[in-house]
Each structure stands twice: as C-alpha cells, then as structure tokens.
Subunit: 236 residues, 4 copies
C-alpha cells in the first residue's frame, strides 16, 4: 500500500469534519496530496464515517485515474483535482455542506469581512463563484465546479483566502495540509454564522476598516507573525 | 412474534430520530411495512424512548386493526396507513416535529430548492399541504391528514420528493426503508435550516437553475447515478 | 427529615432542567408541593447543580416560613408560593431563563398558537404578563411577580395553559407534578423557537384555525383523549 | 515554580471556556492576577487546549516582561495588562470570540438591557468601544485595544458591568476571580443571544424599566443582596 501516512491523515481529517459538526450522514469529503508523486488521497464516495478505515482512502492521479483502491472515490474528486492543479501551494482540501456557509452559498453572496476572526484567517471577503452554465453542468460538472473556483480566484492568493463558496452549492476550504484545510472549514462556518447575525442586527453593515484587516491578517500570516509558538521573530 | 426483523429495524429508527436531534420527549414516530403481509410495524403511543423495546412495536393492518401488540399504536397511525396505501413504492415513514421543518410547516410555506443538498434529495420544492377543513378534522383527523398529503402529491413522484410539510403541523418523510425515511427526515431538517438562513440573507431568493437541480437529482437517483459504491454504471 | 420522596423528585427535576438545556450555571429553579401538608420543596438559592443533593431541597410553608432546611430557599420562592395558592390544581413549578421563551418575554409578546405542538400542550397563546409597577417592585418584588401572573390568568385555566411569560424576565411553567412542569418548560422552549422561525418567514402569520387547535388540545387533554397508553376510552 | 495555585486556576478556566462552548480550536484566552506580586498568569499563544498543562501558563509582569515560562504568552496579553492596571478591583479576565457577543461586536452595537438575566449581571447596557484609529493599530495594537476599553469605561464601574465588546472584534469579560470572569463571559453570550432574538421579534425594543434593572442588579450585587447562601443579611 502506498502513502499510508497521507491516507491516515486524510482519514483522520474526514472524521474531524464530523466531530466539528460540519457534516452529517455521508456528506462532505476531505483529501490530501503528495506533491512529489502527484497522487491525491480522497474519501471514498457514500461510505459511512463509522465504517471508514484509513485503507479505504482512494489514491487518484491528477489525470483522474485511480492509482490504488477498490472503492469509488468521492464524486467531487474532479473538483479537488482542478484545485490541486491550479493552486500549487495547497496540500489539502475539504468540502462540506456546513450550515451557515451553505446559507451564504445558496444566497450567492460573499461573506464580507466584518470582524477580526474573519481577518485572522481570510484576507478579504470569502468569495462566491458564479453559477455554472447549462453547458458546463452537462459536459463535466464536477471538473467545471473546480474551474469556476479557479476563475474566481484570478488575482487572489489562494493561501491568503483559503476558502470559497460555490453559488447554490456550498463551501470548499483548503490549506497547506489536510488538517489546516479542516480547521479553515471550521473557522469559515463560525465566520459565516457570526456574519449572518451581524447582518441581522445591521443589514447595511460595511466591512471592517482595511487597516484592522491587514493588522490581523499579518499577525497570523505575515513575516512578522506574533501568534503561536513556532514562528521566527515572535514577540516574547 | 411476527416480523421480528422489521420490528427491530423500526425500533432502531425511532431511536435514530432522538440521536439525530429530530424529536424530544415522546414526540415523533417511525414505521415500516412488510409489503407481502401488508402489516405495518409502528411505535406505540406516548412511550418513553428510553424504555422502548423492539417487541413494543405494534403490528397494524392496512385496515387499521392491530394484528399484534399489547400497547396502543401511535395516534398518527391512520396517517401512516393512508400513505402506505397511496404510495406503493415506500417502505418506511417518519413523523417528527423537528424544529426547522416545523417553522416552514407553521408558516404554510413550501421549502424552495435553493441548493444542491436539497436537489440531491428532493426533486423540486418540498410541498406543503393545505389546512384540513373543519369537517375533515372532525370526521377522521389522522386519516384525513394522510389524505391531504396524497392529494398534494397528485403529479409528484413520492420517491423523487420523499417528504411533505403538513400546514400548521410538521413534516412527514418516507423512503424505500425505515432507515432511508429517517435519513430523509434528517436531510429535510438540515435543508429547512439552510433555506431559512438563505431567505434571511435574501428574502426574494429564487430557486436554483433547473439544470443544476436536474444534474444533482440524477447524480444520486437517475439510471446513471455516480454517487456511492453500489450503483451500476458508476464512474471509476 | 420530612417529605423525602418529594424532595428527591424536586431535586431530579432541577437536574432535568440542565439536561434539557434550559438552564446554565445556578440559574433556574423547580419546586413541588405536598397539598396535604401545604409544604413546598424548592431548590436552594445559588447552589451548583453538580453539588446539590436531594436533602438540600428546602421545605417552605405557604406563608413563606422555612419548615426544614439549612440553606436559603430560591430567591424566587415567593413567586412559587403565590402560584400554588392561586392555582390549587398544580403540583409543580419550574422557572428558567431558557433562551427562546426569554426572547418573547423580553419582547413582552405572547407566543401565538402557530402549530399543533403548541396546541397539544397550551390551549391558546402562551400569555405574557404586564410589567410590574415601581411600587410593586419595591414592596414585594417576587411575591408581586406571582400576583401579576395570577392577574393575567383571570379567565384562563392554568392547567389548560400551563406556562406564562413574565414581561422582561422569562418563563414560568407548571403542571400536576414537578416532572410535568419540567416537560412543559421544555415544550415551551421548543414552541418559542419554532414560533420565532415561523414569524421570521412570515411576520404577519396568524394563529392556527381554531378547530385544529381544539382537536389537538382535546386529543391529549379531553375526556376522549387518544394519546398515550393509560387514558380511558383510548382508541385501539 | 511560582504561583502554582493561580496557574492551575487559570488553566482550569481556559478549559471551562471550551466546555461552555465559548471557544473553538486555540481561540480565546483567560488570565488571573496575583495583586501582591503584580504577576499575571495567562494562557500561552496558539497551544491546543487538549495538550495544555497548568505549568504551561505564562507569568507576566504588568510591564509585559515574562517572569516565568518557556512559551510565548497569548498575543492578547497587552490588552489584559492594560485592564489589570486600570481596573484594580478585578482578578481575572477572559477573551473569547463567542458567537453571539461577536455578532454585536461586529455590528458595533452595545447590548441593551432587555431583561432580568442581563440586569442580574450587567448594570446597564454592555458597552461597545470605538474602532481603533490607524495610528493606534500601527503603534501598539493589543495595548491600545486595552486603552480604548478603559476609555469607554470612563464613569462606569467595571465590576458593575464586567464585560465589553470591542468594535469589529469580540468580547472581553472580567471578574473578581478568573472563574467569575468565565461565568460572566458565559452569561454575556447567553444575554447576547436572547437580545438578538428579542430584537428580531421587535426591532425597536427599548430597555427594561430602570426600576426593574436596579432591583435585579441590587438583588445580586447590593449590600442587601438576597441571592445565594453566603451574603450577610440574606433573607431566610
């Protein structure tokens, strides 16, 4: 068996999605990529989280061909592959129909940056894609879902804004690792919930002043990051 | 004792309703049918979920007569029987007063198809019945509740749209098996919650483009279904 | 020690309030009455639910004097006593600041009867009291809280509508027993939550047709009740 | 090791924030102060709650210098220090991005006193700060966050109103001890949630009559407090 460590990591992250309250039943899927072998480990389609084992993770090449595994990979696999191809810096992807992010996706509205939790994780609004055309749905639905995401990220750094809402569908989140992708999906859900509440209190609410957004984003992401324990140059 | 396997399945599904967060106290009920014997196994009325045993499930004929069991069947039994008679393809029914589906039922509003989670499970909006008339309430309330559901499904495939909202009351969901009925009830609740949020963000929100609805519905239900592991013709 | 059985029942019901998600920290209180001895067992004030023992329940006479117990009774005791005196049919009372019922209480709005879950338990809207006057607050705040509840129930059967919202404060619920009072408090909370959602979907929503309200209320409460296992004249 | 008891208390309160549902992942932080030694024990930055030990709490002087500990203190430490310096009566501080309090903070709206739960804990509205200026963000962001809180509390007793919303950010709560600070953060979250619901039901809702606010606040805080077991002069 190839890439046992990656498979175990992807399996664990799929279980985390349940633990975080982001998925129910067999919904949702997580994947991770080995960039040296260009192989993606992904959740099998429609398998119960209770029964799933690390060895059930399916290995798929970037061309979509199954390299190892007896189960069908997630039906959303072509979307994952399109993102791994277009965003070389990412190492893991999570897809869920989590409640609050899906409310915004269904409304085809981006999540504006209304607070510092948002700014800590997403550099600007969480973007929403356009709807796919009839032709795109018919030809290669899941692959084209990936392509409209990539199209929407023209000019946006995918590691600075590691999530997107697909209009009428739900969120995808990613990160340098599968675990980071799952944490970003959790923060996205929390961010969507608090944004909905803020917009209920003040429907015309505008985004946070830009200099506060920048401060928070750089505090966690910039070269002078001061959050956590392992960054170079951290304050003491 | 007859139909022990069905009774156990129905008992388990009744407990699942609690686990899924769809019912509290003794609310809600699930049933399953043996189509060869035309016998329905259903939860007894007003019994605590903690104390309930598989053998407590009551067997009822389609004429409403108890065939086996010492407890009273659920007071909603005539509604279940009306649905089993009118919808020959279904094998299980679930009734709950789950929170978000009940919000729509109380507003007498159908749940519009605003996203792909909805489209994956319900082919079009989740319909709402009319209110029963005074005469219908007086004569045979529970039976007539079933009849207004059947009336509302004129021209709708009950397995394509396996749930309904009874105006001023709450949801019924069904499926090929009792377990599928419970999962549809859970998805219905999730769908209602995200629809409420989407309508809060955009009160005039219209339904998803029809070609996306069709794509998702056929992906899970059509002859060329690509979701899961057991379907013929699944993509690899 | 007197009335050990009642104390244990009241202790258990206080713990149920936590289990039902109706109270946090030391908020909320439940009591029960022995109508022969005219003694009320009630939760002590400000004691942690984790530490509380059945023997900590305080026995209080209808005149407000402690008959047994070393701890102070709940500061809301005079409210409980006023209700026990005015409503001779009730045997238990629960007070909580549960979230959704409190939202309506703070808005000083009654909960309209929008659905059958409501109608099964509350015969008409759940009423809201007026605000206490400055004089009433100053003189005997907790006792007068009971008195404005009793004033509001002029012409209403307290066992037909076993709950009230105190304006700007929160709900009180009651029943024939402490356990029934707790279950009514839980149903009240659920009813308030679904009503809020329904009113969000349709702010002008009017109450359920009267004949449906009557049917549901009588199904559980009337002489021809058909719900549960122990009622005379139940359908089979 | 110094101040082991304080460290353990602060560690416990940090875990309570998770148990109360106020924080996710590594968000949030709690601290406590030894007023004799003027040393603050605070959560380390970005460490998982599962792995955190009492000895990981970092000791920091009021000048911001680490007195003991190998980990970086929370990046919000300068905010805590500014509050300890300005509010000599407080012994513990909690910062969380709890959902409902954050909704108000992001809307830059104070939480009006709409009910008695609020009045029991917060004497008047929970205030919201102004946004920091660009200069304040650039120069000493976390320290200035503390300073705008202190500025907002001109004329307000910090122990009478033991919480604040920082505009666009989230809540800080405090108390005489770290444990009291955590309980105030929990009540704040509950208060924000019920306020949002009340404002949804009645957007123009005004605050509770002042004489009811005073009654409740004094019932728990005043010299004639009647709540709980340990106060002098409590009613029996």
């Amino acid at each position: 068996m190839m890439l046992d460590k990656l498979k175990k990591e992807v399996w664990q992250v799929n279980l985390d999605l349940v633990r975080y309250g982001l998925v129910i039943l067999t919904f949702g899927n997580a994947s991770g990529i080995d960039r040296k072998k260009d192989l993606v480990a992904i959740k099998p389609s429609g398998v119960s989280y209770d029964d799933m084992k690390p060895s059930d993770m399916v290995l798929v090449g970037l061309d979509g061909k199954v390299a190892e595994g007896t189960l069908n990979p997630s039906s959303d696999t072509p979307t994952h592959l399109a993102l791994y191809q277009a965003f070389p810096g990412i190492g893991g992807i999570v897809h869920a129909h989590s409640e609050y992010a899906t409310m915004f996706a269904q409304a085809a509205k981006e999540i504006p940056c209304l607070g510092t939790t948002h700014a800590d994780h997403f550099h600007g609004p969480v973007p929403v894609t356009r709807f796919l055309t009839k032709r795109e749905v018919k030809a290669d639905y899941e692959g084209n879902t990936g392509r409209v995401i990539v199209e929407r990220f023209a000019g946006i750094d995918p590691l600075g804004t590691p999530a997107v809402l697909v209009a009428g569908h739900g969120p995808f989140a990613w990160g340098k690792t599968p675990d980071e992708a799952a944490r970003n999906a959790l923060v996205l859900e929390r961010t969507a919930k608090t944004a909905l509440g803020t917009l209920t209190l003040d429907p015309g609410r505008r985004r946070l002043p830009g200099y506060i957004v920048e401060k928070h984003f750089q505090r966690k992401h910039g070269p002078h990051a001061t959050y956590g324990q392992k960054k170079e140059g951290a304050k003491t």
